[in-house]
Symmetry: C2
Subunit: 152 residues, 2 copies
DNA sequence: GTTGAAAAGTGCTGCGA
DNA sequence: TCGCAGCACTTTTCAAC
């Protein structure tokens, strides 16, 4: 597993990150190589772990998930971060968990059905986890930007 | 544009959210409908805006983006949120922007190459935007969970 | 709205340079 | 190692139910 990404790899990633549905043959034409080459490169990048797959983008509110929130979690002194993460893994409403610098020990992104659901997840799930001292909630009223990093 | 999603739509979304690379014909078999139906439903869902497309998942650190940070932004009283968002849009390092409750006016997720790059984006870009009073930075040392919501 | 099959295009594998 | 060509498969479309 060696992370040696050349210019062609980056070009391919850049184009596919803009539009995954684009055909390999189409990308091949733009980059002046054969379709097979794109395939080989993508296979290599996937094996290397650079590409982790693809994801369907679904509008959360359209499937009944209207509330997005960030939770700053304070852990008790001496509690094991790893154990807490394992517990958090079991909560499906958690979509992101970061170990952060600053006043919080960890920082969590949640997606819930409504405020009642959010309250339930907070009180009955997150705050019940051993090691969690207290939490601070930021509710997202509007997600104005949501995109991927632009490489190169 | 009417958001009427039936059980079949949800089943399709659920399966595709788990694995986008799966063939329509394969899903059709599992749900006991024809391949054409899956296609028609997905087209409908896309036109309705429920499905926003698909995204290639790339390991940021493999393409040279090692630092992920969250920035809490305090806006000056009376400044226009919309204008500030427009300015933020122009910063490619910003991958998410939320209008939130709590002490911050807005909350931003950034992905940068290194700490030097992060500092540059903060000082030379974000803090230069009109209306931005001050910012608070949380650096993610480790992203322990990163996934999508589980529907149904 | 769903079905089933036919047509067009894509991804994949083996061969050659 | 990289590029090219054929094969298998999928997506897509369309007429009929």
């Amino acid at each position: 597993m060696n992370y040696e990404i050349d210019k062609l790899d980056k070009e391919i990633l850049k184009l596919l990150m803009e539009d995954v549905t684009r055909a390999y043959t189409d990308i091949a034409k733009e980059l002046n190589v054969s379709g097979g080459t794109i395939h080989v490169r993508m296979k290599k990048l996937t094996e290397m772990g650079v590409v982790k797959g693809a994801q369907l983008l679904v509008n959360p509110s359209a499937v009944g998930f209207d509330v997005c929130a960030f939770i700053g979690v304070y852990l008790e002194k001496g509690s094991e971060y790893k154990d807490t993460v394992t517990q958090m893994q079991k909560i499906p409403e958690i979509v992101e968990l970061h170990y952060t610098t600053g006043s919080y020990s960890m920082f969590v992104k949640l997606v819930c059905r409504d405020t009642k659901h959010l309250r339930q997840v907070l009180n009955e799930k997150i705050q019940e986890i051993e090691g969690v001292q207290r939490t601070e909630t930021l509710i997202s009223l509007e997600e104005s930007i949501s995109r991927q990093i632009t490489i190169e």
